[in-house]
Amino acid sequence: ENRESMLNSKSNRLTEALEEANRLFGGVRRAREAALDAQFLVIASNIGKEKANELHSEMSAFDSTAFAEDLLTFMGINRTEVEETDDSEDVPGEFLPSDAWQKVGEEAPKYFRRAPTFHYMMGSFKSEPPVRKQRIERQKKASRGKAERAMPAQLKEMEQSHQEATEKEVERILRILQSHFENDPNTPISFFDFVIDPNLFARTVENVFHVSFLIRDGLAKIKLDEDDLPIIEPVKPSEGGEEDSRAAARNQVVISLDQKEWK
């Protein structure tokens, strides 16, 4: 408790305390008291060390308060005359500008041999991305965790959007087919009429692709009419039950259509 007073270089209290402890030790009978004595010695020796330190620094006195003042000046503190007001931590009238620490920060790197922090010039889409050209290799090695999460997340997004687009298209086509049949229930549509886009061959191929999904899922069927030309019609949900769908032949048909034919 009396640490501070013991530290005072002028005081002999530490010596006095040690002498008293010595005396008391003679009367020690129990282990607990001896333990206390040992504790006391540890504390005393720490204080002694601190005193020795103080001695040392007193020789070339370092005035930390003055140093602090010098630092504040360097930081650009604004010292103005102020009337006596309440004592508060932030002394009113002494204004430390917002770039105070920036000033010190500008000066500081000159005293350190600090390795410049490695940053990617073009920035990154997630933290800790791989380096330069070896982007792909790196993802497997050093930045394992984060990079792996970045890659699958990206791919998943792409796949999803593909799937969605396809599904939407298939649905759209189904609706067209259905609405046509609603209007005209007894006239099946020629398959080719349905899928061919007179302007775009690619579109045609896409249409065939989407229709194939409908067939696969049993939402539409293709039959051959009298002229042996394929016609397409939607499957009514009420049509038959399981038996029917099992009975319905599942055929694999390859339709070839090239640009010449299309024309």
């Binding site: 504040l72 620490w101 010190v104 920060g105 000066e107 350190f112 380096v131 090695k141």
Partner: protein
């Protein structure tokens, strides 16, 4: 393997948290354990020749490394992100205080000093945020500062000293120069500190 290790070290160094040998072995070297020291040696050479950096072991028992700059103190603009520079400024001030006070200070003494600079452990600082955390955790983890508890103190007190990274990245002489510059005095003014700084070069 070498270039992978180099890249690994550069990325790991971003936060300035020292790198453990175990991490290097686990992530990069793996099967090539036997060639470990050779790979590390070559990586160090690459770092030096290409980047002007150096791989330094700061803990020989637990094998912990840091990257430091091999080039002489660069004058002029440094590209620093975020609050890097300001933090270095605060660190430099703290290191100076510790050195000038005989290389070891009580935490209470340090905070008392920082008070004078309007930096308070219990208060959010406009630049540094949670200063207590910055000083007692971040700087310590980066090995710029070392903190040791003082035995049998209640409530527990700590002392602060220079950490191994500080010892490698700067020197007593450099820090003394900084102090002198702030005071507008000649470094030889603080006689004891000056001779100590000289002895350490």
């Amino acid at each position: 393997q070498v270039s992978e290790l180099v890249q690994f070290l550069l990325v790991k160094d971003q936060k300035k948290i020292p790198i453990k040998r175990a991490d290097m072995l686990k992530n990069i070297i793996r099967e090539y354990r036997n060639a470990y020291s050779e790979i590390v040696k070559r990586a160090d050479r690459t770092l030096q020749e290409v980047f002007g950096l150096q791989l330094v072991e700061v803990d020989t028992k637990r094998h912990i490394y840091i990257l430091i700059n091999n080039l002489p103190h660069a004058e002029g603009q440094h590209l620093c992100r975020g609050k890097e520079k300001e933090k270095m400024g605060l660190l430099l001030v703290i290191l100076s205080f510790i050195f000038m006070k005989g290389n070891s200070v009580k935490d209470s003494a340090l905070w008392e000093f920082l008070h004078l600079l309007r930096v308070y452990p219990g208060k959010q600082h406009s630049v540094f945020g949670d200063v207590r955390k910055l000083v007692t955790e971040e700087f310590v983890r980066q090995k710029y500062l070392e903190t040791t508890p003082i035995p049998l103190t209640d409530p527990p007190e700590f002392k602060f000293q220079w950490g191994p990274r500080a010892e490698k990245e700067t020197s007593k002489r450099d820090v003394l120069n900084f102090v002198a510059k702030m005071q507008g005095k000649d470094p030889a003014f603080g006689a004891t500190q000056f001779s100590e700084a000289e002895a350490n070069t």
